[in-house]
Amino acid sequence: MNNDIYTKYLALDKMPTMWCPGCGNGIVLQSILRAVDELNVDRDKVVFVSGIGCSSRAVNYLDFDCMHTNHGRAIAFATGLKMANPDLHVIVLTGDGDCASIGGNHLIHACRRNIDLTIICMNNSNYGMTGGQYSPTTPIGSQTKTSVYGSYEPPFDLCKLTESAGATYVARAATYYPLQMKELIRKALQHHGLSFVDCASDCPSLFGRLNRLGDAGQMMLRWKDRLVSIQKAQSLSEEELENKVVWGEFVNKDNRKEYCDIYAENIAKAKEAANG
């Protein structure tokens, strides 16, 4: 039952959250907590690392080991933490601006290394904390505070980006489907290697308001027609997929070695060289 999960994992004295009414971050965080609970791991070995932005404030409400780092740097801090103690389950909580813009370099290199981190991106396609500017995932034509004539920069597809960079688990979830989100996050957490979950989410008070998308409930309903499962997407043409958001599990493979394991082999080689 969720009540037990909240009591068990939330820093109750920090509640309620500072997020605006209807912000999708809380839905993602709730899904994460339920996924962690199902894992049955030693919670003392679970560490959350975040950067800067609305998404990264999530760690403020968690009763775990937590690190709220600098803008874009969560993955870098997490990499050192994981390598220094591979027994830890390191979960990076980040946003579209945090991981795909200022922290984009760390994102692709973590994927390249295939280090066993789980990166969960709360993707609300704008910078919320600073008041609603366009981000690297803002759809073309959107109104934001820095694209008053409509956003004109092509956005990233973070799933394609991380897959090409070498992540071995890549999925997209949506706050409209919270149970499936929990499932995808659970599988990401269980995956041995770099797992990335792009969580399509809403920012009603900025992106929604600036683009006249209605209230939080109406924004939530908008997803119904926009979300297309990966299975269904296979039978649709490119035109039919325009303005749709494809969700599901894109990559789940074990054909690449995990970075901590690779480094353990390096240690063995070094010792052999030193003794030989």
């Binding site: 820093a11 920090k14 003392d44 070995k45 560490v47 690392v49 800067i52 760690v59 403020n60 009763d63 775990f64 080991d65 937590c66 690190m67 709220h68 780092t69 600098n70 874009g72 740097r73 993955i75 870098a76 801090f77 997490a78 990499t79 050192g80 933490l81 994981k82 390598m83 220094a84 103690n85 027994d87 830890l88 370099n105 760390h106 290199h109 480094y263 390096n266 240690i267 080689k269 070094a270 010792k271 060289a273 030193a274």
Partner: protein, 383 residues
């Protein structure tokens, strides 16, 4: 008994760090610091340590801080351009009181400057590089052997005071080879960060009731630590912007933990022939070696010269230096920049004392004869 070995400054730095227990190194290649990475990549895995070549300097220091939070002694090494990139994350380590050692091997700047030419122009950056107020611990050795011993001291200070420590030397010291004494492991005084005792539930990662340093628990042991770049209270959670007293207390503690221990355990400088000196040369790092020769040659000429050499550069020993220079008539600063040390000592001298600046910033080391000429010039001054 240890042994005498010939090695470069960068080699001494890497080997000393590993000798005193550094087990995590993350860095990005940059001249003239790269050899530290190269040596760590070879030696660290032999002792179950982690070497990582990161994608840039921002991630290098990020990974170092992450590793330190997991309980490992961690280090990164870079030069000016990379050190500039590290500043924001360095501030995170200051406010969260995370031990780590950052080596800045100075090259001529600004910007890319001249990668292989030495300079001493990052002295002020090590003090004021990251935004906001924070304490500093910066060490400037002047020989390969001192790089070895001061690297160990850097780790000891860092672990003891839960504070990043910057080891600052230049491209000449990095690449010159000298015979040094390498102590046997049990001859090295190694300080490891104290671990908390008592109930995990009641543990606070910070303590602001006095200037003492709170023991640092590692991640993954049930303490449920919270670290944030935001100004925090003793729990580590951010405090409200309305809590002005709290904001003041956090910063006050950061400064006090260093200030209170400074005289007894942090301050370190070399005094050479200062007892009766009319002319005091102030110099650090590689330049202080030319300065020492210049002082000796001045003495041979009958000029009462002496050398004051901070080894702990920051905090600067203002109090001691203002006592030492009471009776001298002139101070000569010798440094490879446009006058950073000079600006520092200005605070400590009297209006009727002459301040002579001997500086060079063309990528050449300062020769003893040039400093000697400055001493001679200063000696002509009548108070």
């Amino acid at each position: 008994m240890g042994s005498y070995q010939i090695m470069t400054g960068n080699e001494a730095c890497a080997k000393a760090a590993i000798a005193c227990g550094m087990r995590f190194f993350a860095g990005y290649p940059i001249t003239p610091a790269t050899e530290i990475s190269e040596i760590c990549s070879e030696l660290l895995p032999q002792v179950d340590g982690v070497f990582m070549q990161m994608e840039d300097e921002l991630s290098s220091i990020g990974a170092v801080i992450g590793a330190s939070c997991a309980g490992k002694k961690a280090m990164t090494a870079t030069s000016g351009p990379g050190f500039s990139l590290m500043q924001e994350n360095l501030g995170w380590a200051y406010i969260n009181e995370i031990p780590c050692v950052i080596v800045d091997v100075m090259r001529k700047g600004p910007s890319g400057g001249s990668a292989t030419l030495p300079a001493q122009a990052d002295i002020m950056q090590t003090k004021w590089g990251t935004h906001g107020d924070h304490p500093n611990l910066v060490i400037m050795p002047n020989s390969v052997e001192e790089i070895y011993t001061e690297t160990i001291r850097a780790f000891n200070l860092s672990e003891k005071y839960r504070q990043p420590v910057i080891l600052l030397y230049d491209a000449i010291l990095a690449h010159m080879s000298e015979k040094i004494y390498v102590p046997f492991l049990d001859e090295i005084n190694v300080i490891d960060r104290p671990l908390p005792e008592g109930s995990k539930k009641d543990y606070l990662p910070f303590r602001y009731t006095d200037s003492k340093v709170q023991p640092l628990a590692p991640f993954g042991q049930g303490y449920h630590l919270h670290f944030s770049g935001l100004t925090h209270d003793e729990t580590g959670f951010p405090i409200s912007n309305q809590d002005l007293t709290g904001l003041q207390i956090t910063l006050g503690h950061l400064m006090a933990k260093i200030d209170d221990e400074y005289d007894a355990h942090i301050k370190k400088y070399e005094s050479y022939m200062l007892e009766d000196a009319d002319i005091i040369v102030v110099s650090v790092g590689i330049t202080s070696r030319s300065a020492k020769t210049a002082v000796r040659r001045a003495r041979d000429m009958g000029i009462k010269a002496g050398l004051f050499r901070p080894i702990t550069m920051w905090p600067f020993p203002h109090h001691d230096f203002s006592q030492i220079n009471l009776v001298c008539k002139a101070v000569v600063t010798a440094e490879m920049n446009i006058g950073q040390l000079n600006q520092v000592v200005t605070e400590d001298i009297d209006r009727n004392q002459k301040l002579v600046m001997k500086n060079l910033y063309d990528g050449n080391p300062i020769r003893d004869v040039d400093i000697l000429n400055s001493i001679i010039e200063a000696n002509k001054y009548e108070q």
